[in-house]
């Protein structure tokens, strides 16, 4: 007998016929009729008119017929609520049936009939079924509570079903436990505040026991529920991990992924030094690799998750590059994901293999895949410096293929390579220029124009090339227009004589004939710059470019942490938090990774004192975090940085680069440059233009007012040291030191004339430096300095000068000029002169920030032989703007939690551990820019020991 015939009745009057058949006396005929009805329902025909007739068939001994009628009921009851009541009696009766399968069927179906009136009648049978002697009925009833809660949450609470459900967690049957957990988890999700799933070590133990016994699906429910639990300390976390790891060998990938989620989450709490931590890391890799031999759809889910895991803990899969090599027959979605992970895992060790693979991929058919492969070659060049040359030659090979989209993609990445390694690969420009005509995508055109502008001095016909683009200026996309404008201005600055006409043309096109405000503004700024001060224009337009980051498409750290809590779920597939795609109240609760707590300190409440041990480590995911200072210039490109906001005021470009050959200007009148604007980077990094910024001390005075509150005492001042010996400076000896008093920094100089002639016309300039230190006023030496005379000068400094990272960080290169010559010297300034007065962080903020800063950024130092006690230390540091936020005593040790802020807005958090009677202190520093830590430590040393 086949059922397909039911699908074929399409003639008119069908409903009428069905009605007759449904009311037939013959059982068989009835059954046939109901089947036809269900078939019609499936294909989308409206058979609701038959409701009373179908319900009439319900009272039957024939189970098959009964099931069919139930199916119909579930689908149509809502449209006929009054009629649905007719069915209630049968349901109630069935719930008393001696056969447990029928009892379960009744309670399951009743839950699916989403009619308010019925739910009232459901309560009593459900209560009985929850306590049924048969586990099959109980497990069905457990799910039914969730169904009922979905229809009428209040009713479920009033009837006390939730408590019964909680009791079922301790049921003897593992499947009942699993379903109860699933139902409770879902109900809890819609009541984030309620403490429904009251997980405690006892209930966790029960769940872990059930985990070994229940079905694969039940294991998933339990593991997903476990992942929401926060163990009270690392020991508990470890013991749960130990009991979860066997699940990694389950044949069901979902069980494996859910186990991975639990482990990834609880690992946060384990100390890295633990042997177990390493074991766990090793155990995680093989199952993740095994997931890649599953069916393609599951591979896709696995790969999306591995992408997250690789970002969070790169060490797990760093040796497994090969398994991510693309297979010829992989579906495209698997190929693209594998490629993504390959780039993330690329390192010096495996780059040769990776490149060979990428080259293969670049010859494939799928356009998206090929593009991504070409782009990946570029990323490798930027990530692994040793491979750059091979990458470039591979890209050139690809350009030779003349396949349009390959060429364009290659040009876009070569532009990035030029930026990363200036003056290295420019020989390929000629090849690039050959392909100018074939470029039709804006991104590629913009990249090519950038290259032409950037290297205008080396391309003989740069003006012609750019002019050719200018013809269709208004048809170009904004990206190309902006780039063209900048490129032509660059060209003009490099070859002013031949290109005057061209620059005028582009400026008028951009300013007069364009409706685009961005383009217009940029045009005006260039115009004004060029007309008022071409030298400054050169400084601005041809300034050094900020570094580009090594990693792209990184997920922002807080989001990454949240997504780690959602491993295996849709959120991890979309790489979006559930709130982005789930409607209503569900899933809005943000999950976060547990902080790491040592068991010994578990009694401390986290609100009152910062967690003793640092929270879980995080990988270095802020792009180019190794160079946060460089990153300041590049804010638009990086992902948002959470935590204390970085003071990014306007980035000012000192107009004069002393050591870079701008000596003429040194003689000039103004030491301060024009507040600059930064039009350097091709991806249109528009840092706020600050054209009219007040010059000199006025600005720093303003800063002083806002920052110098309260503290009157100045910070520690080191004795003056000789910076420039007389023999090196034709008789001029300079010694000095740095001070910070009431918010203002100054450089105290002592100039001694050891020559035989009078010195006049003193001037001072600083080279660009890490914190933008610059003189706030000219060097005032009132009278000529006669031989053997010494003069003391205090030179006010500000920190709004231009920024360049120095090595060491606190290095300051200074040029001093007098009537004899220009002298250069460099000195190191103590970092504490940069500690600002408002560096006291709010407690909550401190806690949050401490947790937020990745663990790699933490550095520990020993301060030896310091005889002070905690109070003395605290007050001593306070006078140098290191603020103690909290203090507590742990096992006889004083823990001081301190914060300080640097002039450029970088916060440094510190934990100082002082043991009474022991002159050696332990200092832990956490900062988003870890390179400052060493210098902060030196500052601590200096302050405490003097």
């Amino acid at each position: 007998m086949t059922d397909s015939k039911y699908f074929t009745t399409t003639k008119k009057g069908e409903i009428f016929e069905l009605k007759a058949e449904l009311n037939s006396d013959k059982k068989e005929k009835k059954k046939e009729a109901v089947k036809k009805v269900i078939a019609s329902m499936t294909v989308g025909k409206d058979v609701s008119a038959l409701f009373p007739d179908v319900v009439n068939c319900m009272q039957t001994d024939n189970l098959e017929l009964k099931k069919l009628v139930y199916l119909y009921l579930m689908n149509y009851a809502k449209s006929q609520p009054d009629m649905a009541i007719m069915a209630v009696n049968t349901f109630v009766k069935d719930c008393e049936d001696p056969n447990p399968l029928i009892r379960a069927l009744a309670v399951r179906t009743m839950g699916c009939i989403r009619v308010d009136k019925i739910t009232e009648y459901l309560c009593e049978p459900l209560r009985k079924c929850l306590k049924d002697e048969d586990p099959y009925v109980r497990k069905t009833a457990a799910v039914c509570v969730a169904k009922l809660h979905d229809i009428n949450a209040q009713l479920v609470e009033d009837q006390g079903f939730l408590d019964t459900l909680k009791d079922l967690i301790s049921d003897s049957n593992p499947m009942v436990v699993a379903n109860a957990v699933a139902a409770l988890s879902e109900i809890a999700e819609s009541h984030p505040s309620s403490n429904l799933l009251d997980l405690n070590p006892q209930s966790i133990n029960k769940l872990l026991t059930a985990l070994n016994e229940c079905t694969e699906w039940g294991q998933i429910f339990i593991l997903d529920c476990l992942a929401n639990y926060t163990p009270k300390d690392d020991r508990e976390a470890q013991s749960i991990c130990e009991r979860v790891t066997p699940r990694l060998s389950h044949a069901n990938s979902a069980v494996v992924l859910s186990a991975v989620k639990v482990l990834m989450k609880f690992m946060e709490m384990l100390s890295k030094d633990l042997d177990y931590y390493g074991t766990l890391l090793k155990k995680l890799a093989p199952p993740l690799v095994t997931l890649l031999s599953a069916e393609p759809e599951l591979q896709y889910v696995a790969l999306r998750n591995i992408n997250l895991i690789v970002q969070k803990r790169p060490e797990i899969l760093k040796h497994e590059m090969k398994v991510f090599f693309v297979k010829y027959n992989d579906p495209i979605y698997v190929k693209l994901e594998k490629l993504d992970i390959m780039i993330r895992l690329a390192s010096q060790a495996n780059i040769a293999q990776v490149l060979a693979e990428l080259k293969e991929y670049a010859t494939e058919v799928d356009v998206d895949f090929v593009r991504k492969a070409v782009r990946a070659i570029g990323r490798c060049a930027i990530k692994v410096e040793q491979s750059a040359e091979r990458c470039v030659s591979t890209l050139l090979d690809l350009i030779q293929t003349k396949v349009n989209y390959v060429v364009q993609e290659a040009i876009v990445v070569i532009k990035d390579i030029f930026r990363k390694y200036p003056n290295k690969y420019e020989s390929v420009i000629a090849t690039l220029c050959e392909n100018l005509d074939s470029l039709d995508e804006p991104e590629a055109r913009a990249a090519m124009i950038w290259i032409v502008g950037e290297y205008a001095e080396r391309i003989d016909n740069a003006d012609e090339l750019l002019e050719s683009f200018l013809e269709g200026f208004h048809d170009e996309s904004t990206q190309v227009q902006l780039q063209l404008l900048t490129a032509i201005v660059k060209l003009f600055l490099k070859k002013p004589t031949e290109t005057q006409e061209l620059v005028q043309q582009v400026l008028s096109l951009a300013t007069q004939d364009s409706d685009n405000p961005d383009l217009r503004d940029r045009g005006y700024i260039y115009w004004r710059l060029l007309s008022t001060d071409p030298v400054a224009a050169k400084e601005v337009v041809l300034a050094e470019k900020p570094l580009i980051s090594e990693e792209t498409d990184l997920i922002e750290p807080t989001l990454l942490d949240e997504l780690i809590c959602y491993i295996g779920t849709l959120a991890s597939v979309y790489h979006k938090p559930p709130s982005a795609f789930v409607e209503g109240g569900r899933g809005v609760v943000h999950k976060s990774l547990p902080p790491r707590t040592a068991s010994s300190e578990s009694t401390e409440s986290p609100e009152t004192a910062p967690a003793g041990a640092p929270p879980g480590e995080q990988p270095d995911v802020i792009p180019a975090q190794g160079d946060l200072l460089g990153d300041l210039l590049n804010l638009d490109l990086g992902p948002p940085v959470s935590g204390p906001p970085l003071a990014t005021s306007s980035v000012q470009m000192g107009a004069v680069d002393l050591l870079g050959g701008g000596l003429d200007s040194l003689m000039g009148d103004e030491p301060e440059g024009i507040g600059g604007t930064n039009f350097v980077a091709p991806p249109a990094v528009a840092v706020a233009a600050n054209l009219g910024a007040p010059i000199g001390s006025g600005l720093s005075d303003l800063f002083d007012l806002t920052s110098g509150v309260g503290t009157l005492s100045g910070s520690y001042v080191a004795p003056k040291a000789v910076w420039l010996p007389a023999m090196k400076a034709k008789g001029l000896e300079i010694s000095g030191t740095f001070t910070r008093q009431v918010g203002s920094i100054s450089m105290d100089l002592q100039l001694t004339n050891k020559a035989l002639q009078v010195m006049t016309d003193f001037a001072i300039q600083f080279n660009r430096n890490s914190f933008g230190l610059a003189p706030a006023a000219p060097l005032q030496v009132h009278a000529p300095l006669s031989p053997n005379q010494t003069v003391e000068i205090s030179l006010p400094l500000n920190t709004v000068g231009s920024v360049m990272k120095m090595e060491p960080l606190n290095n300051l290169q200074v040029a001093v000029k007098n009537n004899i010559d220009v002298f250069y010297f460099s000195t190191l300034y103590p970092l504490h002169i940069l500690f600002v007065e408002d560096g006291k962080m709010d407690r909550q903020m401190f806690l949050a920030t401490w947790k937020d800063i990745p663990n790699e950024n933490e550095t520990q130092f020993q301060i030896r032989d310091c005889p002070l006690n905690a109070e003395a230390v605290s007050s001593k540091l306070q006078s140098s703007n290191i603020f103690t936020i909290a203090k507590r005593n742990v096992e006889g040790q004083d823990m001081l939690y301190q914060s300080l802020k640097l002039t450029n807005g970088i916060w440094v958090l510190a934990e100082l551990r002082i043991q009474p009677g022991n002159p050696n202190f332990t200092l832990s520093l956490k900062c988003r820019a870890p390179e400052v830590s060493q210098h902060v430590y030196q500052a601590y040393e200096t302050i405490l020991k003097n």
Binding site: D3, D46, R243, P246, P578
Partner: protein
């Protein structure tokens, strides 16, 4: 959790539709055809919508996935805040629909499982079979997915109470019923009690697929074996089984005590990268003692899957030589070498040599087997029925090309190979499979056991 489940044919017509939750299609929409340009009338409210009108989710999937012009870019599609998971079996689409943040891996595992269950009941998943069994499918769906939560889906257990004839309620005794329910919900959900065989017998198949990607120069870019141990058991009662193989970790552990024995027998052990087990295996015991013990389901099941990457025996080596003679001619020479004991025979050997799209003619000479140029597949297919170990064979071909002005170079897809060998390329050996049934009076010695090894090619490619 899963909000609904649909089965479509290749035209996008719905064959099966089971809605578990109201949220997946909320607003009454005419079931008339949607055009893809039309926005879907989604709303946030949840009015009472009778089933047949709840069509928009169904239609959205048809329009956006089944009828999509482009190749499917992802097995998970989000349309108007509704997520669709799909798998395809021949030309049947199975789609699970949800509006929540469900466990995606679980949904796919469930869809696969559902395919298995359906296949176990009525064979191939085809439109005809689905239409013929739609009542059964609804009944199954009712049982294995409750409110979107997957329940017990082991066919062995399901078959005890869901049959084509429905629940055999009338004929069951009370004991039978409670036996069913305890089995469905119990610890050993995959086996029922009271199974009896006159002859206790079991079959073990070690099935491996060996995967290789080799560079033209003969360098192994990647190679791995993914293997399965499939067991067919016809054992009485509730037998406790213990399975042993030459797992390096186990051998080494035991080797400490009986070092002589292992060295004498010269048994090679293999390093298993990772393995997964059927749910009957006690995972915690494997984790602690690395022993594989279980009570098997009755009949056929997959006991374990494993993966190895070390010391793989690559049964064949392919040596390609491609020479471009001018713009219109290619010369291809491929040598295959078998690399295993001469006493063993490989079977069903097939070498597939891709040819460019603009091939106009091919001339092939091969020493052994038959070779043919198949224009429709853009490949020369060389078939050899049998080949012993440590042998070598060669094919050479001249490929005439039509002149084209296509700038793009021929991508040179890899040469792929298929074969079957009677050993396990990973080197895995079954050491024992012990059966204990304390309640019945048969012992391990009474069980007749069969072991077979089959190594097949997975993706076995050599670039040229």
């Amino acid at each position: 959790m899963i909000g609904g489940l649909f089965i479509y044919n290749h035209k996008g017509e719905v064959l099966i539709s089971r809605v578990y939750r109201d949220d997946i299609g909320s607003q009454a929409a005419d079931s008339a055809v949607f055009s893809s340009s039309e926005p879907f009338p989604w709303t946030l409210s949840r009015p009472c919508v009778p089933f047949p009108l709840r069509r928009n989710a169904v239609d959205a999937f048809r329009v956006n996935v089944i009828h999509a012009r482009q190749q499917v870019r992802s097995p998970v599609t989000n349309i108007a805040r509704t997520s669709f998971f799909h798998v395809k079996r021949s030309n049947i689409w199975l789609a699970a629909v949800t509006k929540q943040n469900v466990n995606a891996a679980m949904v796919f595992e469930f869809l696969y499982k559902m395919c298995d269950v359906m296949a176990a009941y009525f064979g191939k998943i085809s439109e005809e079979n689905i239409k013929n069994n739609f009542v059964l499918i609804y009944e199954l769906l009712d049982e294995i997915l409750d409110f979107g939560y997957p329940q017990n889906s082991e066919t062995g257990a399901l078959k005890t109470f869901i049959t084509q004839q429905g629940i055999k309620s009338q004929h069951q005794t009370k004991e039978e019923q409670s036996q069913i329910t305890s089995q469905v919900t119990g610890q050993i959900g995959w086996r029922r009690e009271g199974i009896k065989y006159r002859r206790n017998e079991l079959f073990l198949d070690v099935l491996e697929s060996v995967n290789l990607l080799m560079s033209p120069q003969g360098q192994v870019l990647s190679a791995h074996v993914s293997g399965r141990v499939v067991m067919k058991s016809y054992l009485s009662g509730m037998p406790e089984c213990k399975f042993g193989m030459n797992d390096k970790i186990v051998i080494e552990k035991q080797g400490k005590g009986t070092a002589d024995e292992t060295s004498k027998s010269g048994k090679q052990s293999i390093a298993i990268d990772d393995c997964t087990f059927h749910q009957c295996v006690r995972l915690s015991k494997f984790d602690s003692e690395r022993s594989i013990s279980f009570i098997p389901p009755d009949g056929e099941f997959e006991l374990m899957r494993y993966r190895t990457t070390k010391d793989i025996i690559l049964p064949f080596r392919v040596i390609p030589l491609v020479r471009e003679v001018g713009r219109t001619k290619l010369e291809v020479k491929v040598v295959i070498k078998s690399n295993f004991k001469p006493s063993l025979l490989a079977q069903k050997i097939e070498v597939r040599i891709p040819t460019p799209l603009n091939t106009s003619g091919v001339q092939v000479i091969c020493m052994k087997g038959k070779a043919k140029y198949k224009a429709s597949e853009n490949a020369i297919v060389w078939k050899i029925k049998r080949m012993a170990g440590m042998k070598e064979s060669q094919i050479s071909a001249e490929i005439e090309l039509l002149p084209t002005n296509d700038k793009k170079k021929w991508a040179r897809p890899p040469i792929s190979m298929n074969f079957e060998v009677p050993f396990a390329p990973s080197g895995l050996k079954v050491r024992y499979l012990k059966v204990f049934e304390p309640k019945l009076n048969y012992s391990d010695h009474d069980v007749i056991k069969w072991v077979r090894y089959i190594g097949r090619s997975g993706i076995y490619e050599t670039r040229c």
